[in-house]
């Protein structure tokens, strides 16, 4: 049983950032803006979040510091995503191009700033955020050890974001308008919805989530930030497409990938995998191969938002 708990706890570290960022991507893409810049925004969010922790860890520690850092990351992500929104919405630019530019800019910015200030590119931080056991909840049989031990608060933030997103996109007026702008912006405009505003909102939400996701990726897996999120932004994009742009399916896609990734990185801690004569690299490949195979059999009917990637022009028919 302890193995199951271990796998579950490890999976959270990988799946939660993917979930948060892919949900962010969903808000952007369902409003009609392809956001390939998720990777770059994650780096930006992580950079400012970790930078904040690095500066204030002398005076603060624990969950207060982490929660403040989450806010900083969200803000950084939102501001950085504005560049993408401006290019894609106001200037009707090719969304792949501005996304690629953002992806290129942020790691360079992170390395440059870190090295100019402190000489090395790695930003160190003390991990004072680890929760060995959540009081009371951690003592619940089965569920306790599975979800409320060896965790980080980012896990619960991620699950909270999932529930909120599920509600917002399906049950609110804003969600309906957002989806309308991604499917048929002209129709949305004709009934008085401001397509530009809604699309801005979509991109900014994706920026907030990607910023938080960047921090949520770095905190549990490392004690320094090296100007990279290891391609998780692109993987989140894959999870988004794999999840067919739908909240619940994104949830399952993220956890599918997270479990695969857990087998890949922590197989030596899982007794029945440890004994197998399979090389390390094969385990590392498994998540990607599994995703490819699942996609092959599930992509025939793509449910991508219809107006995705097409700049909205009020004058066109």
């Amino acid at each position: 049983m302890s193995t199951v708990y271990f796998i579950m706890q490890q999976t959270m570290y990988f799946a939660i950032p993917l979930l948060i960022v892919a949900l962010g991507g969903m808000f952007s893409e369902r409003s009609g803006i392809v956001n390939i810049a998720l990777e770059g925004i994650m780096v930006m969010g992580a950079f400012f979040g970790i930078g904040f922790i690095n500066i204030f860890q002398k005076t603060m520690s624990g969950q207060t510091l982490l929660l403040l850092a989450v806010l900083v990351s969200a803000l950084a992500g939102a501001l950085f995503s504005l560049f993408h929104a401006f290019a894609a919405i106001n200037l009707k630019a090719d969304q792949t191009i501005s996304g690629t530019a953002l992806n290129m800019f942020s790691p360079a910015f992170a390395v440059f700033t870190a090295r100019m200030i402190q000489g090395v590119r790695q930003i160190q931080f003390l991990d004072t955020f680890y929760i060995r056991k959540v009081p009371i909840l951690g003592d619940i049989p089965v569920l306790g050890p599975m979800f409320f031990r060896n965790a980080y608060i980012t896990t619960y933030i991620g699950l909270f974001i999932f529930l909120i997103s599920l509600f917002v996109i399906n049950n609110t007026r804003f969600g309906l308008r957002l989806r309308a702008c991604g499917e048929h912006p002209q129709a949305a405009d004709s009934v008085g919805i401001n397509v530009y505003k809604i699309r801005y909102a979509g991109v900014i939400i994706s920026g907030i989530f990607a910023g938080i996701g960047g921090l949520a990726f770095v905190i549990p897996t490392s004690t320094n930030f090296n100007a990279t999120v290891a391609g998780y932004g692109f993987l989140a994009l894959a999870v988004l497409i794999f999840g067919q742009w739908r909240t619940k399916r994104i949830f399952f896609a993220a956890f599918f990938f997270g479990i695969m990734k857990t087998f890949a990185s922590a197989y030596s801690g899982i007794p029945f995998l440890k004994g197998l004569p399979i090389s390390n690299e094969i385990y590392k490949m498994i998540p990607y191969i599994a995703t490819l195979i699942v996609l092959t059999f599930s992509s025939k009917n793509s449910q991508a938002p219809r107006a995705e990637g097409i700049p909205y022009d009020k004058g066109s028919r």
Partner: protein
């Protein structure tokens, strides 16, 4: 009149907007340098601008050395763009090509030395093509988004190559590949002497040939026309009887082959470059995206944008003399690409700026023509209203 005609040419406006983007990027770079260290900012900025010209022939040689692989990946990404595909998987194709080139270079010493390097390069192309074909096949037959499959193939390629290196051509002391045999290294053809002992070799000729081949395929053949038709309107080209599936697959195969060749060219250049067994994707693949975007996916444009980015990269190495971090170059390139995204806006502005004067000038000229020469055929503006009346 001639100046206005020049401005009206589509390519020239694109060129102008690229130049503006470059100027904007450099300006941002200068501002970043000024903020971080105002004293050394201007000399460092000059060093960036001089780039490869700083060290004479050797510097130029370095520019070419850096440009060779990224022009190839740029061609790869640009070629796929023309077919409406986003080949973000150039990195994986590049790595696979590089590995096969090294494998043949190390192990196939039984080949006659004259063709050893040629076989290694061909192997690199085939490996890249194979790797590129997977996203193509999945896109054509299973409608899987090529962006996500290429991302997955990047990682699978990297891990597979790392695993195979350890089993075949591994130098365990340095955690990297073994050096390739002399006969597998690309012939220098005197370029090394021309560029003062730098690592320039036949690679640059192969790159230029590839640019020409891609140009000819895209501009002068039916196949290229079909590819571009698929890229601009899938449904219309289907209706016109173009085999869309075949074109998607072939486009990805060719794109993969170009990236794979780039990998071969870099790792067979005999410059002391080895694949390190690390869990890092090859950055050349992602530079290729920038090169393709800056070159507007046009083969000739890609050749020059690749050289330009390599030029800046060399400048980036040189500014370390002033204790600046070379990453500022990546920021400059990012800003250039970002501003390049405004091409549409920029073209509109140019058109607005020149449209009115053009009409005014031509009107005056035609009026003059009409007055002086009284040639009715020359005078278009007057004959049009007549036509309207007829209708």
């Amino acid at each position: 009149m001639r100046r206005n005609k020049l401005l009206q040419v589509e390519g020239f406006t694109s060129f102008l907007s690229s130049l503006t983007a470059i100027a904007a990027g450099l300006l941002v770079g200068l501002v970043i340098l000024l903020i971080s260290n105002s004293k050394d900012a201007f000399p460092a900025f000059l060093v960036i601008l001089k780039g490869g010209f700083l060290d004479g022939a050797k510097g130029l040689g370095n520019v070419i050395y850096y440009a060779v692989p990224i022009i190839m990946t740029g061609l790869s990404v640009g070629f796929a763009f023309k077919t409406g595909l986003f080949n973000i998987g150039a990195s994986g194709q590049f790595t696979c090509g590089a590995f096969v080139a090294i494998y043949i270079g190390v192990k196939w010493g039984f080949l006659p030395p004259e063709i050893h390097w040629l076989v290694a390069l061909t192997g690199a192309m085939v490996a890249g093509a194979l790797w590129g074909s997977v996203p193509g096949l999945l896109k054509a037959y299973f409608n899987v988004n090529e962006v996500i499959t290429s991302i997955m193939m990047n990682y699978i390629g990297m891990y597979l190559v790392n695993m195979t290196i350890v089993k075949t051509v591994y130098d365990s002391l340095k955690n990297q590949t073994k050096p390739v045999m002399k006969s597998a290294m690309l012939p220098k053809m005197g370029f090394d002497k021309l560029f003062n002992n730098s690592n320039v070799n036949i690679g640059i000729i192969i790159v230029i040939l590839s640019v020409l081949v891609v140009y000819i395929i895209l501009q002068k053949t039916t196949f290229g026309y079909e590819l571009k038709a698929c890229g601009s309107n899938k449904n219309a080209s289907k209706y016109a009887g173009i085999n869309e599936k075949k074109n998607i697959i072939l486009s990805m195969v060719i794109a993969g082959a170009l990236s794979g060749l780039g990998g071969g060219l870099l790792y067979l250049s005999g410059s002391g470059k080895y694949i390190h067994v690390l869990d890092v994707l090859a950055p050349e693949g992602f530079s290729g995206i920038s090169v393709a975007l800056l070159g507007m996916s046009h083969p000739i444009g890609i050749l020059f944008s690749g050289l330009f980015i390599a030029h800046l990269t060399v400048g980036g190495f040189n500014i370390q003399l002033y204790n600046f971090v070379p990453e500022v170059i990546d920021m400059i390139i990012a800003v250039i690409i970002y501003c390049g995204a405004f091409a549409l806006l920029f073209k509109q502005i140019i058109n607005k700026m020149i449209k009115k004067p053009v009409i005014a000038v031509t009107a005056v000229e035609t009026a003059q023509n009409a007055e002086i020469h009284e040639i009715p055929g020359d005078n278009i503006s007057e004959s049009e209203p007549e036509k309207k009346e007829e209708i």
